[in-house]
Amino acid sequence: MVDFLSNYSIQKWLESCPQGYLEDTIYGHGADEREPEELLQNDDYREQQIRTTVQLIAGERCALAASSGLVNAAPDQASKTFLATQTLDEGRHVEIFTQRLFDLGVKPNDLESTIATYINPHLGKFAEVLLEKIDKKDFVAGVVGQNIVLEGMAFSVFEMLHAGAEAANPKFARTLSGTIADERRHVGFGENRIGDLIRRYPEKKPEVQRMQRDMTKHMLATFHEAFARNGGPAEARPSAPQKGKPAPTYQGLNMAEASNEEMEGALSATVLKEFKTRLGRIGLEYQSPV
């Protein structure tokens, strides 16, 4: 365990993240990259992007509250150290997605009201389930909720958004690729650290699995509402600027042609498959909310 945790030191984090893939970036993207003009000029398209970005901010605010709360509950120094880097990663994500809202034309004074207008209520409930465990300083449940469930969801959502934005919006795609790189560390830590704790405290299993079921229920409701309101990633729409490239694909679906239901189904199936695999590896059984 000590050797595994040494891979998550702050020194390693400094070398791989700020001095690695984030070097020469500003708010996670290249200094000369901008939101596409076509997006900024089209009110519907811009509103879809604002709505999507608001959900990312809400998710990252929850992750910031959760990871910082877990530092205090961590049973050993090495876990505290890793969670310190995760806290800053999440703080950075809040900052870069907030900056994206400003880049999309939201005024700083309107930030909170914009978030309140567009936030998906199910995402708030998803966060509540997790933060309740954090408030109780329940490290095992907190790490499963944060680093397996929340991060697992974020990882897949970012990958889908990245697939949609890669050709049409290189700035947003670059921002997302940095967050995906961060999430890899977070899910890796969650799986590796918590597997050991689940083996040591098997009595925690039923409670943790209940939490996973509740969070999954709210996550699926979030996806349903998001796709019903917004459809797939806006960049993947036929009207989006593709710069002469073929339409993006996600899980074998042509994102420009797939229906909202198909996109929702593909994302949900991907996330749930990931959950089952990861939970199985740490000795937990996936609980379906249905």
Binding site: I10, S68, N72, Q77, V94, E95
Partner: protein, 258 residues
Amino acid sequence: MTEADNPHELGEAEFRATVHSFEFWFEAVEGYLHGRPYGVSPGLEEVDLTERQRDGLITTLCNYCVGETAALDASSGMIGFAPDRGAKIFLATQVVDEGRHLEVLLHRMKQLGVADPDAEIARRANRSLLKFKDRLLEFVDARDWEASVFAQNVILECLEFTVFRHHAGTADPVTAEMLRGIVSDERRHMGFGENDLGRRLLTAPHTHDRLYKIKRQLDSLVLDTFAETMGELGIEREERPDLAGDYLAAVARLGFRS
């Protein structure tokens, strides 16, 4: 040079948004941490320490670890009740700074031959500093922003800033370079605390009396810790840095009489 590059031409809100950001932290620490694994330039040579010097340094590093663990636990806990987004993001940068301090201090202890740093810390930790830590974490658990900022970012950071700066001036080259990197971080933490609290006291003067009582409770713990640390480092009373000067000046700027 563009107008945006002259810090003195920024508006107040713009200045605060700039310095309380990940971007600012990221570009600032790059300056003094890049190419310095564990805070020290590769190739910087160790000097021989006497057994007494080595033992004194280990005790001191153990106590620095207690202080940094307190700051790590407190700053991470404070994110949950920080009053705004800027403060939350600033605290996220402080969390990683404190985690790094702990990491480099533990690394240095290992270089000095300490096999089990945790056991050594438990054995050598200063009782007053442990009491201070408990008190600080009580404020955090109570989600008391003003008391937490005061105890951590004003009192504890001021103690560390003074002790580390002085110690860096007398320590062996490896320890000195490591400490200078920590001091560069402490400037941000201390400044954040004093300025946040200063603004708060202007609009809520009733807070003043409450914080003054807290200060009186914590003063003796801080001063005991300081005196003991100076003793471990073998610094004679007349050569000790003026903690009272730095600390009392900071609290005097906030309007606290001593």
